[in-house]
């Protein structure tokens, strides 16, 4: 098998992992092991997987509350993600965030942000830090079609374009913001035109085709090493399930959902790879079995997980003891080179403020 073929098989594998993970989440939700809001991206896996495969380990990701797929595709261990959903201290965010707030310093995953549009300015700032420190990195920022109506979208698009910052804006346009259809919310439903109006190069991409997403993300990130600015991908996709577990999903008709399910990114790729002779007989089944085993392992890990001690309730409200007057020289400006490593966790003995 050639390299492209192997790459495609990997993308299929990633999508299968995410799908099986989220399907298992539904069961765990019914069993009350997962609580709170649970937003599934079933049907949208190609967006997460396609974009992530264009990123390097040094790049950063800013995501939304619908981020299990982003987290898994970025390489956060399934155990840590599942434990987070179950509110265990072994979770990615110690069980403090839950489904909507997965964070991981090791993979530069700056969260699940549950304020629609709230992550976009952060992505601009992360890209600004890279620019100022001369690091050729990109920050991928995921958000939905609903976020495009927020002021923060427009402010961030303008700022990133104005300052020529390497942000890859990934709009997962699944045609709905909760029960509000795109056409009900937008005077201009071609979202890529909004980005273009800020002079941000924009592409419309079939978000149900992982190879198309990966190719678009790769070309959008190509210019990063040479100081390229922001790019915008409108990933046209669809969620097969309701907005969240609370949503009765009465605003879409069955035919529409069925129509989109025919374009399910997983069987589409599996069939194409089989037809091309890239996916051997039994390989998909093996992939499925491995994903199922990984999911069960993650569930067992989460279930065996422990709860953060109540005594730690106020830990990490702030980093630690406040800075007393003393040590640093007030005449010397802070040097970005000597700035603290953002990856290093602050003093765990932090007092609350």
């Amino acid at each position: 098998m050639n390299e492209a073929g192997r790459g495609a098989v990997h993308l299929l594998d990633e999508m299968v992992r995410i799908r099986r993970f989220e399907e298992r989440c539904v069961e765990l939700y019914s069993a009350s092991a997962i609580r709170g809001f649970l937003h599934l991206a079933i049907g949208e896996e190609a967006c997460a997987v396609g974009v992530m495969q264009a990123l390097t380990a040094d790049d950063a990701v800013v995501s939304t509350y619908r981020e299990h797929g982003h987290a898994l595709a970025r390489g956060i261990g399934m155990r840590a993600v599942m434990a987070e959903l179950e509110g265990k201290v072994e979770g990615a965010s110690l069980g403090r965030g839950g489904s909507m707030h997965i964070f991981d310093a090791a993979t530069r995953f700056y969260g699940g942000n549950a304020i629609v549009g709230g992550g976009l300015p952060l992505a601009v700032g992360l890209a600004l830090a890279d620019h100022l420190q001369g690091r050729a990195r990109v920050t991928a920022c995921f958000f939905g079609d609903g976020a495009v109506a927020e002021g923060e979208f427009h402010e961030s698009m303008n700022l990133a374009a104005l300052w020529h910052l390497p942000v890859l804006f990934c709009c997962e346009n699944n045609l709905y913001a909760m029960g509000t259809a795109l056409a009900t919310a937008q005077s201009e439903t071609d979202l890529s035109r909004k980005a273009s109006s800020y002079r941000v190069p924009a592409w419309q991409v079939d978000g149900m085709d992982v190879l198309a997403v990966a190719a678009a993300a790769r070309s959008a990130t190509e210019s990063v090493p040479s100081g390229g600015g922001p790019h915008f991908l409108e990933l046209r996709t669809y969620r097969f399930r309701a907005h969240s577990m609370y949503d009765p999903d009465r605003y879409r008709d069955k035919e529409e959902i069925e129509h989109w399910k025919e374009r399910d990114p997983i069987p589409a790729l599996a069939e194409a790879l089989t037809a091309a002779g890239i996916l051997a007989e039994g390989e998909l089944e093996a992939m499925e079995a491995a994903a199922a085993a990984e999911v069960e392992d993650a569930v067992a890990f989460a279930e065996a997980g422990t709860l953060e001690p109540v005594a730690d309730l106020e830990r990490f409200v702030t980093s630690g003891a406040p800075i007393p007057a003393g040590a640093p020289d007030p005449e010397s400006a802070p040097d970005p080179e000597s700035a603290p490593d953002p990856e290093s966790a602050p003093d765990p003995e932090g007092a609350s403020r």
Partner: protein, 285 residues
């Protein structure tokens, strides 16, 4: 505000931004996450409301929500307060709202030394620091000592010692409190004046130990009385020094109106020296 900085540090480090409060504050947070130590200047607290989401939902929460993985070493400066006839959209003292938020440190310089010396330790703080600068103090002049440097940003300061009453003030009301203390002295009342300096976390110890000595407290706050910083300070005194008190805690606050433009009304709406003196005298100090 940034006079001379552009010339000294250049346009990469001194950035003029579009009027996008949410985006430029959020970008400050993102840059802080990316290893920088940004200072974001939002003009006035009134405009900071357009960035409230970023400050409250991101800057203040990320460290906690990420289980300690991502701290936000960001400094945000803004003007607050009345006294310049700027009417109801440029004059309010909203720092009390921010003082409600866990995860933020709030500073209010009232002196030249603090205005300069708070900045460096604020920059060194691993977490978000909001600095509220009272607009009426911008024209204050004075000489900084040669050895002026950074100052402590964790505690309140006793600006004047006295034995009969404790007057608690901060930012723009410190001058008012000190003038009131001068007048009271002429009437035989010895007032101690505390400058809060750090509005969150509050330095309870300095306040309570003063009240334990003076047995009376007046809190001066330009913000509205209801749900205010003055209410918080008053509650803490009641909780922590109730049996030391010879009189109920008194408060001199901004009138509960949107700030009027006309000078006589603006004066009426903000704490004046005479109001503080009257409050002390009513306590029977």
């Amino acid at each position: 505000m940034s006079l001379g900085l552009l010339e000294e540090f250049g346009p990469e480090r001194i950035r003029d931004t579009p009027l996008s409060e949410s985006a430029f504050v959020g970008a400050g947070i993102g840059a802080a996450l990316g290893g920088m130590r940004p200072i974001v200047e939002i003009m006035t607290v009134n405009f900071s409301l357009l960035a409230l989401d970023q400050i409250v939902n991101n800057a203040a929460t990320l460290l906690y929500m990420s289980g300690g993985q991502f701290n936000v070493p960001l400094v945000i400066r803004m003007t607050t307060g009345a006294g310049r006839q700027l009417a109801a959209q440029h004059s309010h003292s909203l720092e009390g709202w921010y003082a409600h938020i866990p995860g933020l440190r709030l500073l209010a310089p009232a002196t030249l030394e603090d205005a300069r010396g708070m900045l460096w330790p604020a920059l060194c703080d691993p977490d978000p620091v909001l600095i509220f600068e009272h607009g009426a103090l911008y024209n204050a002049e004075g000489e900084l000592p040669d050895d002026a440097g950074e100052v402590d940003i964790t505690s309140a300061a006793v600006r004047r010692t006295g034995g009969d009453v404790t007057i608690v003030a901060y930012g723009g009301t410190l001058r008012t409190a000190l003038s009131a203390a001068d007048q009271l002295e002429g009437r035989g009342v010895s007032a101690e004046v505390i400058d809060l300096r750090c509005l969150r976390p509050l330095d309870d110890a300095t306040i309570l130990s003063s009240v334990a000595r003076t047995h009376r407290a007046v809190v001066v706050d330009e913000g509205w009385r209801s749900g205010s910083l003055s209410a918080e300070v008053s509650a803490r005194i009641t909780e922590g020094a109730f049996y030391d008190l010879d009189a109920p805690v008194a408060r001199v606050c901004g009138a509960e109106v949107p700030m009027p433009y006309a000078k006589h009304l603006e004066d009426e709406a903000t704490p004046q020296v005479a109001d503080v003196v009257a409050a002390v005298e009513q306590m029977g100090a």
